[in-house]
């Protein structure tokens, strides 16, 4: 029997079954080809690690804290500086409080970069929520392997036991329909492109270089805040100002002083989460584009359905020699399937 020729017993076409087996093997192999068994769990780790930070409330808190640092630095560099060294004493202020002056000089660039960073991360909250609502990343490889194994096994069974084909055929069609519907069930057409947007947006955020830049900012801010707290405030106190008077005259400096520990407690773990997930992000980035993920299910599903339908069953060859020959239409002298 040649490929494409119907079975003498009315079974499935071999070529279609072989194609189904190839499709199944392809699905099984896909996670290995894309290194999903290694990368997908790293993606799961990243999603889990980002969870506490990817909320409007948390990121809004960071924005407020950056604003508090901005207020404190500005007031230290202007109002407090004037109070300590007079209107014309800028150079004296810089000479007396070099750590504060250098912090004030470095801060605008840090402020701009950190504000931009928080804004960009904040813009990704809906996309993060979409990606987090997808099935667990650790399951991703199995979404390929399990249907692949089933496809290949059912097609192989049909190849070995053509008599089972009528049942197996509908199982294959059902499996194909399942693959087509899976992205709909998981809302992948909506969520996966959002995941891609987040992965794209983090290309300039979740890098070792950026993390080290932020670590450097942290060092600058910590040193600058310390200089304000340990040099400027005591200098004001030496001029006779009480804590209450300092708070009343320089509320932004007082706020930064009071809020420093909570700011530190908020910022430090975020930097840690960013730093610890650079490698995990790289793994996610190396996966195929999230936008393609729904099609990784839909296309094999459609192909499986098409192949299952194309495979037959074919009509049985008439075995009763006493049966009257079927009249043939003109122009078709040989009945289909005859040899």
């Amino acid at each position: 029997m040649s490929p494409g020729e119907p079975s003498r017993r009315g079974g499935p076409r071999r070529w279609a079954l072989i194609a189904l087996i190839v499709l199944g093997v392809g699905l099984v192999a896909a996670p290995a080809v894309f290194q999903m068994f290694d990368r997908a769990p790293k993606g799961a780790t990243m999603i889990r690690a980002f969870k506490p930070y990817m909320t409007d409330a948390r990121l809004g808190g960071y924005a407020r804290e950056i604003a508090q640092i901005q207020g404190g630095v500005h007031q230290a560099d202007t109002g407090v500086a004037r109070a300590l060294t007079g209107a014309g004493g800028r150079s004296r202020f810089e000479a007396t409080y070099p750590d504060v002056a250098s912090f004030a000089a470095a801060w605008p660039a840090i402020h701009a970069d950190m504000s931009d960073l928080i804004d960009r991360i904040r813009a990704q909250v809906p996309n993060y929520q979409a990606i987090a609502a997808l099935p667990k990343f650790t399951l991703f490889p199995w979404f390929f392997v399990i249907p692949g194994v089933l496809l290949a096994a059912l097609a192989a069974a049909a190849l070995l036991r053509p008599a089972w084909w009528r049942t197996l055929r509908w199982a294959l069609v059902a499996l194909g329909i399942g693959l087509v519907l899976a992205p709909v069930a998981f809302q992948m057409f909506d969520r996966a492109p959002k995941g891609r947007q987040m992965v794209d947006a983090f290309k300039t955020i979740e890098t070792r270089r950026k993390v080290e830049t932020i670590q450097g900012y942290f060092g600058t801010i910590a040193a600058g805040q310390g200089a304000i707290r340990l040099e400027l405030v005591p200098a004001l106190q030496r001029r006779g100002l009480t804590d209450a008077q300092i708070a009343a005259r320089f509320p932004a400096v007082d706020t930064l002083d009071r809020r420093w520990i909570p700011i530190l407690q908020d910022l430090t773990p975020m930097i840690g989460a960013m730093s610890d997930n650079v490698g995990n992000y790289d793994a996610v980035k190396a996966l195929p584009s999230f936008s393609l993920f729904p099609w990784f299910f839909v296309l094999p599903g459609l192909i499986a359905i098409a192949l299952a339908l194309a495979a037959g069953p074919r009509e049985r060859r008439r075995a009763d020699p006493r049966a009257e020959p079927t009249p043939q239409p003109a122009g078709n002298p040989r009945p289909e399937g005859s040899s």
């Binding site: 750590d99 993390v211 080290e212 670590q215 450097g216 942290f218 060092g219 910590a222 040193a223 805040q225 310390g226 200089a227 707290r229 340990l230 420093w260 520990i261 530190l264 407690q265 430090t268 773990p269 930097i271 840690g272 730093s275 610890d276």
Partner: protein, 228 residues
């Protein structure tokens, strides 16, 4: 194959088999002090408080190099003129006790470390940091042996894998060697007569907000203990 080449092949096979059969030496069970001709040191490495004068530190101190390796973190809480040096003072145990773990690695609500046995908790960017020796620090997988020391001539070697800095409710292993590794160890000198010692090591932080920062440590003081 000539007889000599056969002998060489046989020798190679025997050597390979012997190497394959030899038990793997775990990192923590490196050659013993005595086997290496060194003497075991026991007791407490008492810490002399750090001071800063004449543009240089004396006594015990700590610095943290940035990941770039070109600068040090400036600690506003340091009492040194050069704030890249954080001066250390002895804790309730007087220093580093060899052969045992020194814990107390807990925090108050503000994240100040309560680990006060080895060094007195010290301000670091507004929050107190302390030091402990932990068998296994939180979020770190390999277990570490308690500190141990050997002396060969005047060269002091201390295995400090368990040393952990605690700050802001976080732990940073500052061991030498790092947990699960066999080198490099902390090294310095010990005078058998006066028992004055110095000890230096570097330890790069792995993971967390200070990933890639390197702690640079210098302890000095006197040994309250003995050299076997």
């Amino acid at each position: 194959m000539t007889p000599s080449s056969r002998r060489a092949t046989l020798g190679t096979l025997i050597a390979t088999a012997a190497l394959a059969a030899a038990p793997t030496l775990p990192a923590a069970a490196a050659p013993s002090a005595h086997a290496a001709g060194a003497s075991k040191v026991t007791g407490t490495l008492r810490i002399t408080p750090g001071t800063f004068a004449g543009g240089k530190p004396n006594g015990s101190w700590f610095r943290m190099a940035l990941p770039s390796g070109t600068a040090y973190f400036s600690n506003p809480g340091s009492t040194a003129t050069d704030k890249t040096y954080t001066l250390l003072a002895p804790g309730t145990a007087g220093g580093l006790v060899l052969g045992t773990y020194q814990g107390g690695a807990t925090f108050d609500a503000s994240g100040n470390s309560q680990a006060g046995a080895i060094i007195k908790p010290t301000p670091f960017a507004g929050i107190l940091f302390g030091v402990a020796t932990l068998k296994q620090e939180p979020a770190s997988s390999p277990a570490s042996a308690a500190p141990s020391a050997t002396l060969k001539g005047t060269r002091l070697s201390v295995r400090l894998a368990a040393l952990t800095a605690a700050w802001n409710k976080l732990f940073f292993n500052q061991g030498a060697p790092k947990p699960g590794k066999s080198s490099p160890v902390a090294t310095g000198t010990l005078n058998r007569r006066t028992k004055a010692y110095t000890l230096d090591w570097k330890s790069t932080i792995v993971g967390g907000p200070f990933n890639g920062f390197t702690g640079v440590w210098h302890l000095q003081g006197t040994l309250k203990g003995k050299v076997a």
